[in-house]
């Protein structure tokens, strides 16, 4: 029988009993009360009695023990009183069960809601996929897709698995997985994420990850692990739980004796105090305080693309003083772009692109994509010759041409005097400058720099407003580091740090306050581990599962402050919940035992049951409110 059914039956039989509590006489009086309470105890109380008994047999005690004992004592005493023609307390036994069933019903309901984040993520998965087999599209179940398969998605369809676009272009709504609210443009070579929705055009792509290897599966696994982890603060609650019930039983016995033996009260009123102690002590709220807040907090994070890996992380996120950023790939885009072209731009670009078209140098890509963006056409250079560490020589439009650094110009005996001042300026801004020459004459300069991410400045400002001190840590030279730091508003820069020394610099900072390190998770592992809290920025399709306590799926720096805020709020909620649970359970006990009787305050067992049921519900509700807190 379901909890709901048991509750309804209990409720129907309990309602008339309430009448007797407010002083109305039921027809048939005590016998009617017995007839009404018995089905409640037998049907409504059944699961508690069975649970208590099987626990008892194995020398264990649980919350069933408390409910069964509380109601059992009230009921059995009343049966005895019925025979002895004394006052009966059937309504207490019945209402207690009804209230506890109600609390359980609410708890299940709210818990399911708290747990919905994972189900939502799992539910995102596509059921079928369209695989290209010999040029014809064939629809197959998702499980049949293999890595390397060519898949087709039409507009409006779900992308079934992770992959790389081969043909077509489209925009994709990735918000459900990464939290990125704007549609992302996809063209050949771009990665796509399984379970996201293709919007405007058809795409074909090669499957690169399926099953448990997909980004979504990894996120689900990460969130699941986080939700089952425990915050260190809960350890106290755990230790209490194990010995709680037997201790409460001893307290109840003591309560009874104090009233009956010491203070000379009647048997039944002494018994009622003992029953109230047993009932109010059910540590449900204590058990729910941490897991529900953790569940809601990590679930909320997952929907924003902020993956919090464990309860310990939440505690680590409190009292952070320094937020240390890695530069390349974290504050900056991670790939150089052309920022300045000095001289006759089309001519300079045409010559540079022609020379770089065959080059594999990382800066070549920046020049080529800038040239394409400026719609400058060119033909590849002939007699191409790379000069190691200096640049490239070749023939462009039958003219001897060169692109490279000062050393190349010196070697080719080309004067740089014409652009000397611009060159110095650009270099002082931390840019990498390439000199372009044709016919033994310098025709211009191209400056390349790894630029800050679009939202970097806002993100750093937000950090400062939130009271964090931002620090940039980089292996780059001072000029470049300072230029980037100035552009985004970071005052404190530590430059020319070897990758292996990053952890040491974090350690130094830690002597002055707690440190968060934000890195891309790949070469920053030691620094991520050394910091009090490591935040790994994902690159969209693969998460550094092992690195860092928090993983940001989106490449958005503003998520760092959001992640810190969410962690702090979740942790604060856990503390609040534990506080209330302790108040309910621990402060409730003396009240139930009758300590406040001299002030005229007593807690009947039925009210104690209601308070107990309400405490669980209020703790779960408090956790659910985390969903709506501002981040």
């Amino acid at each position: 029988m379901s909890t709901r059914m048991r509750f309804l039956i209990s409720l129907i039989f309990s309602v008339p009993l309430v009448a007797s509590m407010v002083g109305l006489m039921l027809p048939g009086d005590k016998l009617t009360m017995w007839a009404l309470a018995t089905p409640v105890v037998l049907i409504g109380g059944y699961p508690f009695f069975v649970g208590a008994w099987s626990a008892f047999r194995h020398r264990q005690a649980s919350m069933d023990t408390l409910v069964a004992l509380g109601t059992g004592v009230a009921y059995l005493y009343s049966v005895y009183a019925l025979g002895a023609n004394a006052d009966v307390y059937f309504e207490i036994a019945a209402l207690l069960i009804t209230f506890i069933l109600l609390g359980k019903l609410f708890e299940d309901l709210t818990r399911n809601r708290a747990n919905s984040a994972i189900e939502k993520l799992v539910g995102l998965q596509a059921k079928t996929a369209t695989v290209m087999q010999g040029g014809t599209p064939v629809q197959v179940p998702l499980e049949a897709v293999k890595v390397g398969d060519h898949l087709l998605v039409h507009p409006g369809e779900k992308i079934p698995v992770d992959g790389l676009v081969r043909t077509g272009s489209s925009t994709v709504d990735e918000s459900m997985v990464t939290g990125e609210s704007l549609p992302v443009t996809k063209k050949p070579g771009d990665p796509v994420i399984g379970s996201t929705i293709n919007q405007t055009g058809s795409l074909t792509f090669v499957a690169t990850a399926i099953g448990t290897q997909t980004l979504l599966s990894q996120i689900v696994e990460l969130v699941r692990r986080a939700q089952t982890s425990r915050a260190p603060i809960q350890k106290v609650a755990d230790q209490v739980s194990a010995v709680f019930v037997p201790v409460v039983l001893l307290l109840a016995i003591t309560t009874f004796n104090v009233w009956f033996v010491l203070l000379g009260h009647s048997l039944e009123s002494s018994l009622l105090f003992a029953v109230a102690v047993i009932v109010i002590a059910c540590p449900c709220a204590l058990g729910l305080a941490t897991p529900t807040a953790l569940m809601v907090g990590t679930g909320r994070g997952a929907s924003l693309g902020i993956l919090i890996k464990s309860g310990e992380v939440l505690e680590a996120a409190t009292d952070i003083k320094y937020v240390v950023f890695d530069k390349t790939g974290t504050i900056t885009q991670g790939k150089p772009v052309v920022t300045d072209v000095v001289g006759d731009a089309p001519r300079v670009l045409r010559a540079a692109a022609a020379l770089e078209a065959a080059s594999e140098h990382p800066l070549a890509g920046a020049i080529l994509s800038h040239t394409a963006a400026q719609s400058v056409s060119f033909e590849s250079a002939t007699k191409f010759k790379a000069v190691q560490g200096k640049g490239v020589l070749g023939q462009v439009d039958a003219t001897p041409s060169a692109i490279g650094n000062r050393a190349l110009m010196e070697q080719s005996k080309i004067s740089i005097a014409a652009f000397q001042s611009q060159l110095t300026d650009l270099e002082q801004q931390g840019k990498t400058v390439m000199l372009v020459a044709q016919d033994a004459e310098l025709i211009g300069l191209i400056a390349v720099q790894d630029t800050p991410k679009p939202m970097a400045k806002e993100a750093i400002a937000e950090h400062t407003r939130s009271g964090y001190e931002s620090v940039m840590l980089t292996g780059d030279n001072h000029a470049t580091a300072q230029a980037i730091a100035r552009a985004v508003g970071i005052d404190r820069v530590v430059a020319e740090v070897l990758p292996t020394d990053k952890a040491r610099h974090i350690k130094e900072l830690q002597t002055r306050g707690r440190v968060t390190f934000v890195g891309d998770g790949i070469n920053d592992a030691p620094a991520l581990a050394q910091a009090d809290l490591g935040i790994a920025m994902g690159s969209g399709t693969d998460i550094a599962m092992e690195a860092g306590g928090i993983v940001l799926v989106k490449n958005d720096l503003r998520d760092v402050v959001r992640a810190l805020r969410l962690s702090r709020k979740t942790f604060a909620r856990i503390k609040l919940n534990l506080f209330w649970a302790f108040i309910y359970n621990l402060a409730g006990i003396p009240v139930a035992a009758g300590v406040l009787v001299p002030l005229g305050l007593t807690l009947s067992p039925a009210l104690a049951g209601l308070a107990m049921a309400f405490s669980s519900v209020s703790v779960v509700t408090s956790s659910l409110l985390l969903r709506y807190s501002r981040l």
Binding site: A55, F260, V261, L267
Partner: protein, 123 residues
């Protein structure tokens, strides 16, 4: 007279509670069966977990089969926080939890509220 009787009964009851719940003897560890590179052990969920202490070999993936007989809602969920497992156990069904015991040590497994507990010993 009533009072003396009450005191005697109370003291006896208190002594019984202490002995019954706290005087627990150390349960012997039951070793999981191993075959084809996989260890397996069945745990009966009825008023607690039997066997309470299970022993696994480190480095070999293990299946813990929880057979829930007890309908009490206290036991509806089993947690193995060290292995990132939280699994609900339907009554009258066997639910398999797969874990990878890599590091030797003692790990606790508990019900959703940590009132019932058992131990996984990895050697």
């Amino acid at each position: 007279m009533d009072k003396i009787l009450s005191l005697i009964i109370s003291v006896l009851a208190a002594a019984f509670i202490v002995w019954w719940f706290f005087g627990r003897r150390k349960a012997a560890a039951v070793v999981a069966n191993e075959s084809h590179g996989m260890q397996q052990i069945e745990i009966t969920v009825d008023g607690g977990y039997q066997p309470q202490v299970i022993q696994l070999k480190a480095g070999v993936p293990a299946k813990l089969v929880f057979d829930r007989k007890d309908p009490s809602s206290c036991l509806e969920e089993v947690l193995l926080p060290d292995f990132g497992v939280a699994k609900s156990l339907p009554v009258g069904e066997k639910t398999t939890v797969e874990i990878k015991p890599d590091k030797p040590g003692q790990y606790k497994y508990t019900c959703g509220m940590q009132m019932f507990s058992g131990q996984v010993v990895v050697k």
